[in-house]
């Protein structure tokens, strides 16, 4: 049996159960993977920016997408006590003029992601962030492991 691979696009949020694999490709965006180890269910939010300006699409922003992701998982019967998060992405241009905020988007995305997860009391058990690499991440709902492919090599994060 082949395992279903689901692509999560920019500013999308998807939840699924074992054995589905959720995949996304990240630059300065951050991918937030939350897993319920008891129910073997989880979700991936691919956020572009830290917080909304005047845009109404909650999936675009860490500040609104993470609570929405947790909410969706809770509605499916997941329990906060069994949830943990892994985060990836938030890269920056290798070089940029220091005064341009565009260069800081990656960092801002990471710090907002951490702040919201802390507020929501979801522990971060794995992190692959920063630098200037593009990342392809695969989130395996079979056991919650995360594969990060970046700059020609692969790294696995198993802790849930």
């Amino acid at each position: 049996m082949s395992i279903e691979l689901v692509n999560v696009g920019v500013a999308q949020l998807k939840i699924a159960s074992s054995p589905v694999i959720l995949r996304t490709i990240l630059g300065s965006c951050v991918g937030i993977c939350i897993y319920d180890r008891n129910k073997k269910m989880g979700g991936l939010a691919h956020v572009l920016l830290s917080k909304a300006t005047n845009d109404s699409q909650p999936e675009k922003f860490a500040e609104t997408a993470i609570p929405a992701l947790i909410e969706q998982l809770l509605r499916q019967g997941c329990k906060r006590d069994f949830m943990s998060a892994k985060i990836a992405g938030g890269a920056s241009m290798f070089k940029f003029a220091s005064q341009t905020p565009l260069g800081l988007i990656g960092e801002n995305n990471i710090s907002m992601t951490k702040k919201i997860l802390e507020e929501k009391k979801i522990p971060i058990v794995g992190e692959d962030t920063g630098g200037s690499v593009g990342r392809v991440i695969d989130f395996f709902l079979e056991d919650g492991r995360l594969k990060v492919k970046a700059g020609g090599h692969e790294e696995y994060y198993y802790k849930v």
Binding site: V10, L26, G27, C29, L48, T53, P101, G103, I105, G134
Partner: protein, 286 residues
């Protein structure tokens, strides 16, 4: 280091047959756009002679992005309804798809990723030109966006065999990936792209966009604005992860280019924030 690879690349670029080809009609149409005395009927005839291109052109012309709701049943109708410059853009999309819509191994791009990236950059560049009241540059930056990374298709196999060294070189020397290509391989994907465009006899302003899209600061003054717009559009799409490859974000965002576009911080963030909508639009013509 890698002297044998440098030599091989030199051999490849000296051999025009080893570089991607472009139907002659495309070159003629690109050059016609700059001719004020151009005869629409002649252009239509010129295009219609190539059946394969014509079919693709009509398909792309009827996408919501180009047609804006109007039905376009022939090349002549496209010229009358959309105008010469739009049709030129459509011809370029139809003709370059075969060159760019394939996996690019060395840069770690699956099939379709480079094509998606280039289409998105083209659309964003055109939008920036129009928003910033530089409508005269809209078609130029669109075409430039579509082909800016064409050099990657040729350099890819050499990047594949030297990838670790390239990345190491960016970090060790604090240089961009393109500069590392130049250092280790003798050429970067911008220079190879320019050589390909020369082979195709595309106009110099397009060559400059391809040659300087990462080195906007060094672009000739005459094409600075167009290069800067594509540079910024390209950076934003890379940051949003659209067709981001193994070379990642190992590039430089030029302050001088941002200045040349006249975009402020709020506008830049806005364009980055609308990349999901941009992608939806890109899919219409991919």
């Amino acid at each position: 280091m890698h002297e044998h690879i440098k030599e091989r690349i030199k051999t490849v670029i000296a051999n025009l047959n080893a570089l991607p080809s472009m139907p002659e009609v495309v070159t003629r149409i690109i050059n016609m756009v700059n001719d004020p005395n151009v005869d629409f009927k002649l252009v239509a005839e010129e295009i219609s002679r190539d059946q394969a291109i014509t079919t693709n052109i009509l398909k792309i012309a009827n996408s919501a992005y180009f047609s804006k709701g109007k039905e376009i049943a022939s090349v002549e109708k496209a010229l009358v309804t959309l105008g010469m410059k739009e049709v030129k853009d459509i011809v370029v999309v139809a003709a370059t798809k075969q060159v760019l819509d394939k996996p690019v191994i060395g840069y770690d791009l699956a099939k379709g990723e480079l094509w998606k990236h280039n289409v998105a950059v083209a659309m964003l560049a055109k939008k920036i030109a129009i928003d910033k009241k530089k409508k005269n540059l809209a078609d130029l930056v669109f075409t430039g966006g579509i082909i800016h990374d064409v050099g990657k298709t040729v350099l890819a196999i050499y990047v594949a065999s030297t990838f670790k060294d390239l990345i190491q070189s960016t970090v060790d020397n604090q240089i961009t990936f393109a500069q590392a290509e130049q250092l280790l391989l003798g050429f970067d994907h911008q220079e190879i792209g320019q050589i390909i465009l020369k082979k195709w006899q595309f106009p110099e302003s397009l060559q400059n966009i391809v040659r300087y899209h990462h080195d906007a600061d060094d672009a000739p003054q005459s094409d600075m604005e167009a290069v800067a717009i594509v540079h910024v559009a390209n950076t934003i799409c890379q940051m949003a992860g659209i067709g981001i490859g193994g070379d990642g974000l190992y590039y430089e965002l030029s302050g001088k280019a941002i200045e040349a576009t006249g975009l402020d911080d709020t506008e830049l963030q806005h364009y980055y924030g609308i990349t999901p909508e941009l992608l939806k639009m890109a899919k219409q013509i991919m």
